[in-house]
């Protein structure tokens, strides 16, 4: 990674739910073009972190900056309009639409039609629609489910719905994509393909921040990793560094995962 301009920085971020401190004073910086992983045991606060970055939850304290602009208090749709999109751990597809419409909706912010021009159906509107549709097909091809384009989204198997969410997040050409457990529900072959898709998108200039429990994937594609446990950051570094970190091993990886360790070390 040659250019090391930070794109997202999180400073002393904290989230308290009632009495529970879900995220506790976490800071890190993601550089442009990076693939950045957040790992940690269940309930560590990873999704909560994502929710704060994308504005779904307000933070209790701390700051989030995206390209030097402060994100706190911004609404999710505003954050999306700034160029951050995401996928969801528990899948949030628009199940009342077909697959392609799902993806076209993802392109929402790249389009200009408003209620008046739409109502009058100016020629520009039609042009824009066609263009978006073509791009949607491309996005679906990229994740490998273009043959399902005209299916209703809720009939897709679990794994394909994950891919659909990724296509939907990617179509608007965001600067930063947050993926919450993208590999969950995919087998190794499929994960492998997805990894390639991600790498390709990175080539196009997207930055990725992702949460994943599949260590093989994490170790193989991430440039940097942050580990949180119980809301607290307990480690940060390259995959190699993380694997050496005894605290991380004890809290998360388990010490007898030797075979895996050897594979990357």
């Amino acid at each position: 990674m040659s250019n090391k301009r930070p794109i997202l920085s999180v400073e002393n971020l904290t989230k308290v739910f009632g009495g529970v401190v879900a995220v506790d004073n976490v800071s890190f910086t993601v550089d442009e073009g990076e693939i950045f992983a957040v790992i940690g045991p269940n309930g560590a606060g990873k999704s909560t972190l994502f929710n704060m970055i994308t504005g779904v939850l307000p933070s209790s304290s701390g700051n989030i900056y995206f390209q030097e602009k402060r994100l706190n208090r911004k609404k999710p749709y505003q954050i999306a309009q700034m160029g951050i999109t995401r996928t969801f751990q528990n899948l949030e597809v628009f199940d009342n639409m077909s697959v392609i419409e799902n993806v076209m909706t993802g392109a929402h912010i790249t389009m200009k039609t408003n209620i008046l021009t739409a109502g009058l159906r100016l020629p520009s509107v039609k042009k824009e629609e066609i263009k978006t549709m073509e791009r949607a097909i491309e996005a679906l091809e990229a994740v490998g489910i273009s043959d399902l384009a005209y299916e209703m989204a809720d009939r897709l198997p679990y794994g394909s719905q994950r891919l659909l969410e990724i296509a939907r997040a990617a179509i608007s050409n965001p600067k930063l994509i947050l993926l919450d457990e993208p590999m969950a529900g995919l087998n190794s072959e499929e994960s492998r393909q997805l990894v390639e898709v991600i790498l390709k998108m990175r080539e196009k200039g997207m930055t990725f921040l992702f949460v994943e429990h599949d260590m093989e994937t994490v170790m193989s594609i991430s440039d940097s990793i942050v580990v949180i446990d119980n809301g607290v950051k307990i480690g940060e570094g390259t995959p190699e560094e993380i694997y050496q970190n005894p605290q991380v091993v004890a809290a998360y990886l388990g010490d007898e995962e030797e075979e895996g360790v050897e594979a990357y070390a």
């Binding site: 739910f17 940690g40 045991p41 269940n42 309930g43 560590a44 606060g45 990873k46 999704s47 909560t48 751990q89 528990n90 899948l91 009939r155 897709l156 198997p157 679990y158 794994g159 394909s160 919450d180 457990e181 969950a184 529900g185 995919l186 087998n187 190794s188 072959e189 499929e190 994960s191 492998r192 990894v195 390639e196 790498l199 429990h213 260590m215 093989e216 994937t217 193989s220 594609i221 998360y252 990886l253 388990g254 995962e257 594979a263 990357y264």
Partner: protein
């Protein structure tokens, strides 16, 4: 104990299960793997009575149960831990677990409470959040809850749809051990659908690969672990991804 004969299931026009055959005896653990959309969830759903088989039969203890509805399945001890967790989001963790024992709560009051303690021992994390609405838990915590809820039913046949999904590596290992123990100590029969093929085959007695609604490879888990085709499809990840 469980016998599946030439099972076919459709979703609307779509022919999803295309003649499934297998047989399981008491205390056996079967791992099912297969790619996305192969029909794994549909198979479990059909066995649990969620989907109606369009032809073929399911026999349990020599009885034909193909047409039984879900409630009947549950009361005969056939329990499904479904895809997507399906937590009762506004009910507390405790209530969620208790409802797992719904079908035997009245008969078996005392045991239910013992079981409850046991499940909490297995998932100490849940113990700290008994009164939190289930829907507010983290993904992994919800997964634990779903598995715990399945265990609360004291299943005779337990079917788990990707139980390791969203769980941290440490926990996955624990869960596999628990499942093994359930078979060995209680004589439960388990069908495990997993994407984490290695972990699953390590504890399973037998395994099979599902593709396009058919079982294409099946054998003991040892055989499968060493099957080159399986290896290529399921364990080759690291090298390939390292670009």
């Amino acid at each position: 104990m469980l016998k599946v004969n030439n099972l076919h299931t459709h979703h609307g026009y779509l022919h999803v299960l295309n003649g499934i055959n297998f047989e399981l005896s008491e205390g056996e653990l079967l791992a099912i793997v297969g790619s996305n959309g192969a029909g794994k969830s549909t198979l479990l759903g059909t066995l649990a009575g969620v989907y109606r088989a369009s032809s073929g039969s399911i026999e349990y203890k020599e009885k034909d149960i193909t047409k039984q509805n879900v409630q009947r399945m549950v009361s005969s001890g056939i329990i499904l831990v479904p895809e997507r967790r399906q937590i009762f989001s506004s009910l507390s963790v405790k209530d969620n677990l208790m409802l797992g024992a719904y079908h035997r709560y009245r008969r078996d009051h005392k045991n239910v409470h013992n079981e409850y303690e046991e499940v909490l021992e297995l998932f100490p994390r849940l113990k700290t959040m008994l009164n939190r609405p289930g829907g507010l838990l983290s993904g992994g915590e919800q997964q634990m809850l779903a598995i715990g809820r399945g265990l609360m039913a004291n299943p005779k046949v337990l079917m788990l749809d990707e139980p390791s999904l969203g769980l941290a590596p440490l926990i996955v290992k624990d869960i596999m051990q628990i499942l093994r123990k359930l078979c060995d100590e209680r004589g439960a029969t388990i069908i495990l659908v997993e994407q984490n093929v290695k972990a699953a085959l390590k504890v399973a007695d037998r395994g099979c690969v599902l593709a396009h609604g058919q079982i294409v490879i099946s054998g003991t888990s040892h055989e499968l672990l060493n099957d080159p085709k399986v290896q290529e499809a399921y364990f080759g990840k690291v090298e390939a991804a390292k670009v």
